[in-house]
């Protein structure tokens, strides 16, 4: 398995109901857990993983030459979140270095589905896996096709959506 090309396809079933097949190369980024992200149980509060997914997604887009800031400002294209899921395997702890692997799991005319795996960087232990589904919208929230310049880097992988 090539760690830069997403996880093992045999290991892709995020949960019994869904799949997160790899259809594009994955990207990895790291961050360090902040004290503010922990809760009194002594681990990272679960909703913070979705903020980490945001970091992974934005860095994946940047690695493709598609800074999300420009996508919003220059192309009036916003990736509005319509569905998210995450399953947690092990707790993330304060000060740990976290590695987030992100890839495009599905790409339709007006939607993008990203998949994520979160690892404890030092041990390589899988902490969580998740998905987020986005509709491309203009500034008024109306769905629109992903502009051609982005589509060139993120080819369509599934029928219109």
């Amino acid at each position: 398995m090539n760690p830069k090309r997403g996880p093992d396809p045999n290991d892709q079933k995020m949960n019994p109901q869904g799949e997160a097949r790899e259809t594009h190369p994955s990207h990895e980024t790291k961050l360090r857990v902040r004290y503010a992200e922990t809760d009194q149980w002594g681990a990272v509060y679960h909703s913070n993983f979705f903020i980490w997914f945001e970091v992974g997604r934005v860095e994946l887009l940047r690695s493709l030459g598609l800074p999300y800031k420009e996508m919003e400002q220059q192309d009036d294209s916003h990736t509005v979140v319509v569905e998210v899921r995450c399953s947690y395997e092990k707790p993330a702890r304060y000060d740990d270095i976290i590695r987030i692997r992100t890839w495009v799991a599905e790409s339709k005319e007006k939607t993008l589905r990203f998949a994520y795996e979160v690892f404890h960087d030092e041990t390589g232990a899988l902490l969580a896996r998740g998905e987020t589904l986005h509709v491309i919208c203009d500034g008024q929230g109306r769905p629109k096709p992903l502009p051609a310049k982005y589509r060139a880097r993120i080819p369509i992988t599934a029928a219109s959506g």
Copy 2:
């Protein structure tokens, strides 16, 4: 349909992969959207819905006479999050009053699944629906059966889990 008893069973399919059948009475609680919860898109950042789910879950437990604080402190029982999902229908806006309907969707020996619907209180519009699955754990993170005193209020609805 009795609004205090959870949503219409015919309207329960959260997404094509899952179901959130009502198996216990639902509880409703309200909160007002904070400025801090918005993002530059002009609506509530999506991960905050999971914090609102926490509010709904805790108030449901309180309404059953089971304050979560005591569950942790007196009974060493923590509802560790192992899986979450949310689908978003409409944006939540600053200063809106939000109504969260919460119910136990599934109850096994060592797990609880909560389901949620988030409404714009004034218009009644559905903003989001979601689920969270929790494993009952002791202070060291070891799974344990939900103590009898809680089980009496939350009867088991599915085979051991």
Copy 3:
């Protein structure tokens, strides 16, 4: 001392460098501490008090008939934060009911200074006190005088600022 009119003037020195004199009636609002607001030390993470100050400020304005949402949308007047401070007396704990007392400590042509006291509602213990200074700005961030309709409810208390 009238609890609805702000704290005892003899008890006003927030810290050796500042004063938070009462110049307008105070307003009180309550909220319950969320699990997400705690950290692994077992109490509320300190920056969350500024979010609670926001809640107190917005509810004070609402009680004066000045919803902040309308202030932004209808009058293009934003209370941009330029200075904040907080001193912490005791930790706030999960599930506690918190009472926030808020008042306008200073009002100039283009600035408003709010002061806050945070109490544990059940015991009345003071948990924290703070201040926030705001410049009234239009949508482009340019300072402007507070519109007359707001000024009528929040009279100027200090020389132009």
Copy 4:
């Protein structure tokens, strides 16, 4: 002025009421603004700067060979926050690289005062400056002297506190 030794002493007055004299070398760390940190005004919500201060403080301690995680776990020494302040000069925007300069402004037997300056990394513009005062406490919240091993790296700069 040596950028690695803290800001110009002539430029130290954080606000009219306070001073943040440099008494130890400063440390710089960078981070990128997350979408989740913005609000509907279109800039970073003000309380998030205190989370960035945490990042700066922890990285300063790490650079001194004093990981805060070990300070808590091995030496039962927690830097409990008792006073904070921040003044904001310019807004921080989504996706900006932020540079945080942190130094120990005051060190007494049982307290540490950290000072911070936040810069827009690309332009060098000062965005904010702030301070946090901490009391060293054990796990039960009782004040205690900073252990010798930390004191060796952070010499006392002011009379007992």
